[in-house]
């Protein structure tokens, strides 16, 4: 079955099971995404993909809402642009976006100011360097949930990490805050691959960035006595 409706004033025809985001992309309409990833289940967490649907009280997340006949969708209305800009400004006020190049591009595109909320409390935490393969810097984490999803049923079925804490204190964590080697983690790095902000980073890349040479890294690796 197909559905026919208006998107940005243009008639679109699509399969009834497709989301507004998929339909937009098929029709060359750009809707930004942050938490959405082609290999993870869409959860509408970040809300950057919201669009305006006529007759709906609030903006609708395009990554999970399906197209329906006779819908009228605006992907760049003033309300939509303001919502996206505000989301970006809130992110920029509370976390470290220095390695999130796609989000930086969006901020430029939407004219978002990183100083709009000067009193915001920043989500800062120490770098967790507790395993040989990757480091976790949750100051850079925007809680997109992709890492948790690929660790669970979207790829790995390992269930080593999950949301921890509530509200502002929410963070990605392990059960009982154990170190990674003490969890069910198999160090596959699926989580590193889908991280959009550099919060998860391969250890080798992390060490090279710190200016440690490949030769020095090799010695670190084999001189196990130097480590615990």
């Amino acid at each position: 079955m197909t559905v026919t409706f208006l998107m940005d004033g243009k008639e679109v025809i699509a399969d009834e099971n497709k989301t507004l985001l998929e339909i937009a992309r098929e029709n060359g309409i750009d809707i930004p995404t942050i938490c959405f990833h082609e290999v993870t289940t869409a959860n509408a967490l970040c809300r950057i993909c919201v669009v305006e649907v006529e007759g709906q009280r609030v903006l609708q997340p395009a990554c999970i809402v399906k197209g329906a006949s006779n819908m009228k969708v605006q992907t760049r209305s003033e309300k939509v642009v303001r919502a996206r800009r505000t989301i970006l400004e809130m992110l920029a006020s509370t976390m470290d976006l220095s390695e999130a190049s796609e989000i930086q591009m969006m901020m430029y595109e939407y004219g978002a100011s990183s100083s709009r909320f000067p009193d915001a409390e920043r989500r800062e935490s120490e770098i967790k360097d507790d395993n040989p393969m990757y480091v976790r810097d949750y100051s850079k984490c925007l809680l997109c949930w992709r890492c948790v999803q690929v660790c669970a049923e979207d790829a790995q079925y390992t269930f080593a990490i999950n949301f921890d804490g509530r509200g502002f204190e929410t963070q990605i964590g392990t059960f009982f805050d154990r170190t990674i080697p003490e969890t069910s983690c198999v160090l596959c790095g699926q989580c590193v691959a889908v991280c959009p902000t550099g919060a998860l980073k391969p250890k080798r890349e992390f060490l090279l960035e710190k200016g440690i040479s490949p030769q020095e890294i090799s010695v670190l690796n084999t001189g196990r006595k130097k480590r615990k």
């Binding site: 290999v39 395993n131 790995q156 079925y157 198999v186 699926q190 391969p202 090799s218």
Partner: protein, 719 residues
């Protein structure tokens, strides 16, 4: 953030899954590995080895200069030289001339039977094709083999006898189409991690039912409908009892049996003795579970079998695989999508090295060497006078070493293998290695076997070469260099071409042709004779690999085999007998030892023990069941000695339910506690595969000071 100078797409060098990798290169150095999410093989997922285990390429211990031993080694007195002060660094010219002189001298004196070569399931198709070409065309010997002999030889022989083919019948990505599937003798989560993800997806997202038949409580058991914990070495009675149930309860696919198979009547007669109760007595698997599993497999619409070394690495490995094949023939679960007989191949290119003819009985394309028609084809391809190539079957991996004596094999060339870790009964292997008159090692590290050599030829790992690998589901994929070889290291196929031309000129014979300008020319030469690869060009596999057979340039590949018929015509049922493993537990040796791999390491450890992976799993461990541990007064982490009739090792114990009562497990990666010192070198009579999966051992506590120091191993080698 590091911005890459370039991103190079290639294929993972570890297991047979063949995951697609993107190497992020900065300043001629890989700093990160990712995978494309649209990869048809692994969908962007990798395991710890593929994603993080590439750093061995840059390890300071890597040998990148050609070297010759300072002291001339004599047969019978050959020693290992790990210390590089015992080697002299030389030039390629001097080294290859020396190799050519010594090989020619031995060949002229003792003839073809004195020459032998181990090919390499880690190297490319192109490297392997040329290596067997060099030995067959120049030395006229079929003494060519590689580690397929030690992993799936039983499966290959069984599949050839029963179907005429020797690879997975279906692709791994078809797992999600299965309604029921059996995983047996395979710890898939650790050995083929990405296929295990697809198995879990099949169960959790697509409603498939998984049956595990394995002595260990492997991770997949958590996702399984049933777990049949059989004793090691009792495959044939369990699978044959399943066949017994399928026949007795009339769950057979009569149409398939009638139209596609032969030998059914003889086969059902042989099943009489294999009642589920008989199988229970031998294997320990409850008869009722055998019945239930048989019904589940037989009555499914689409069912498949996936198996690993637990089937093939036995002195009756061929029979074990035949027992699985019989099940597929009885039920017709073969020749359709989502069904099949699927041996999960271990190495990244063990399928390819076999396809390239690196086996003593076959030319490339599984063409028997004792068939004069096949010989004529390769004589034509290699510019050899009619009747020049040998019709004599060559020696297998294990036989090559056991024939290392006066009048037998005198010179051995090893490309990338490490028999001093991977052969069974290493104390015996050591004696054989000592008997060699001349030994060449072409490798990247000075490993336990290379240390025995006269000459070390520094070759390149996957990240420094172009070519192709063929993965476990017959998909031929591109391998691309991320950067130039380190130091003076050279690409394997170029070393072989250089050496081959020196050999030909010293022997004053016509050239079989070695002047390739790129690896694709090599693949084309092979594909012109081997029809499976006839339609494969680098251009066609630039983005996505092709699944052979690809008989012509427009053929799209063959993901599912045997749709219409089997290569041998009809599938052949094989009546079987139960032959127990050679060693049964006794009062003196009460445990059965089974060996295998762990997620973080690879085989003899040349790569992974020189990698950050070694930090994740730094020392050898023996797994034993808590009930056994308690009886012997062993706690988790205690040092123990494990002793068989052939050798002993000292290592720490991991007390875990993962291993069944009466069974202990040791991974074979660790030189300081090499599991293969213990294993039994008894061979399967047809496939010549050793019995790695079952031997009798004793285990007792020792003092901590007896533990070997792994750092002693790690410090060997360069610098």
């Amino acid at each position: 953030m590091i911005k890459p100078d370039r991103i190079v797409t290639t294929t993972c060098p570890y297991c047979g899954v063949g995951c697609n990798l993107q190497l992020h290169v900065k300043d001629e150095h890989i700093f990160k590995v990712t995978s494309p999410f649209d990869s048809p093989v692994n969908h962007g997922n990798l395991c710890v080895k593929g994603r993080f285990g590439y750093d061995y390429v840059y390890h300071p211990k890597r040998v990148t200069t050609p070297m010759i031993r300072k002291t001339l080694q004599k047969a019978g007195e050959r020693t290992q030289a790990f210390d590089l002060s015992e080697w002299r660094e030389t030039t390629w010219d001097e080294t290859l001339n020396y190799v050519a002189d010594r090989l020619v001298e031995i060949y002229k004196r003792d003839g073809s039977d004195a020459m032998a070569v181990y090919a390499c399931a880690k190297a490319t198709n192109e490297d392997n094709y040329l290596l067997q070409k060099m030995y067959r065309a120049i030395f006229r010997t079929n003494n060519v083999d590689h580690c397929t002999r030690l992993c799936h030889a039983g499966s290959v022989v069984a599949l050839q006898q029963a179907t005429g083919s020797s690879a997975m019948s279906n692709t791994a990505s078809q797992v999600i189409q299965n309604d029921v599937f059996i995983v047996t003798g395979s710890n898939t989560s650790e050995n083929h991690p990405i296929i295990a993800l697809q198995m879990k997806e099949a169960v959790r997202q697509h409603g498939a039912k998984m049956i595990i038949i394995d002595p260990r409580r492997i991770e997949l058991v958590e996702f399984a409908e049933m777990w049949l914990p059989l004793k090691p070495g009792t495959n044939v009675p369990v699978f044959s009892a399943m066949a017994h149930v399928i026949v007795k309860e009339d769950l057979v696919n009569s149409e398939f049996i009638q139209n596609r198979t032969e030998g059914f009547n003889d086969f059902i007669e042989s099943l009489d003795k294999f009642t589920p109760e008989y199988a229970e007595e031998i294997s320990g698997v409850p008869a009722e579970d055998i019945r239930k599993a048989a019904r589940m497999y037989a009555t499914a619409n689409k069912a498949a079998i996936y198996w690993g070394m637990g089937i093939s690495q036995l002195s009756h490995g061929t029979a074990s695989a035949l027992a699985l094949i019989n099940l597929a023939f009885l039920t017709g679960h073969i020749g359709r999508e989502g069904t099949g007989l699927n041996p999960l191949r271990g190495q990244n290119n063990v399928q390819g090295a076999s396809d390239m003819g690196c086996m003593p009985f076959h030319y490339p394309g599984y063409m028997r060497v004792d068939n004069p028609d096949n010989r004529a084809k390769w004589e034509k391809a290699w510019n050899i006078k009619a009747g020049g190539l040998s019709l004599k079957l060559g020696l297998t991996t294990t036989e090559i070493l056991s024939h290392a004596h006066e009048g037998g094999v005198r010179a051995l060339y090893i490309m990338g293998e490490n028999p001093m870790m991977s052969e069974p009964n290493l104390n015996e292997t050591r004696k054989h290695m000592q008997q060699l008159e001349f030994l060449v090692a072409q490798d990247i590290f000075m490993n336990e076997s290379g240390a025995f050599a006269d000459v070390f030829l520094p070759a390149t790992p996957f990240a420094e070469k172009d070519g192709t690998f063929s993965n476990t589901d017959r998909r031929v994929q591109r391998v691309r260099a991320a950067h130039a070889p380190r130091g003076q290291a050279r690409v394997d196929w170029q070393i072989i071409c250089d050496l081959a031309q020196r050999l030909e000129s010293k022997l004053e014979v016509d050239s079989a042709y070695w002047k390739y300008s790129n690896p694709e020319e090599i693949l084309r030469e092979m594909g012109n004779v081997n029809s499976d690869y006839a339609g494969i060009t680098y251009e066609r596999i630039d983005k996505v690999g092709l699944i052979y057979p690809v008989p012509d340039m427009t053929h799209p590949g063959t993901p599912t085999l045997f749709k219409e018929s089997f290569p041998r015509g009809r599938g052949k049922f094989h009546p079987l007998d139960y032959i127990p493993a050679k060693e049964a537990p006794s009062d003196e040796y009460p445990f059965i030892l089974t060996t295998g791999r762990v997620l973080e390491h690879w085989h003899g450890g040349s790569m992974t023990r020189n990698s950050v992976l070694n930090e994740a799993y730094p020392e050898a461990r023996v797994e034993m069941n808590p009930a056994d541990a308690e009886i012997h007064g062993i706690r988790n982490g205690d040092p123990v000695k494990v002793k068989s009739r052939r050798g002993e090792v000292i290592l720490r114990a991991t007390v875990t339910e993962k291993t069944s009562v009466g069974v202990v497990f040791i991974p074979f990666h660790f030189a300081e506690a090499a599991a293969n010192l213990l294993t039994n070198d008894v061979l399967d009579p047809q496939a010549k595969i050793p019995e790695f999966k079952a031997c009798a051992v004793q285990v007792f506590p020792v003092r901590k000071k007896n533990l070997p120091n792994p750092d002693a191993i790690l410090q060997r080698g360069r610098y």
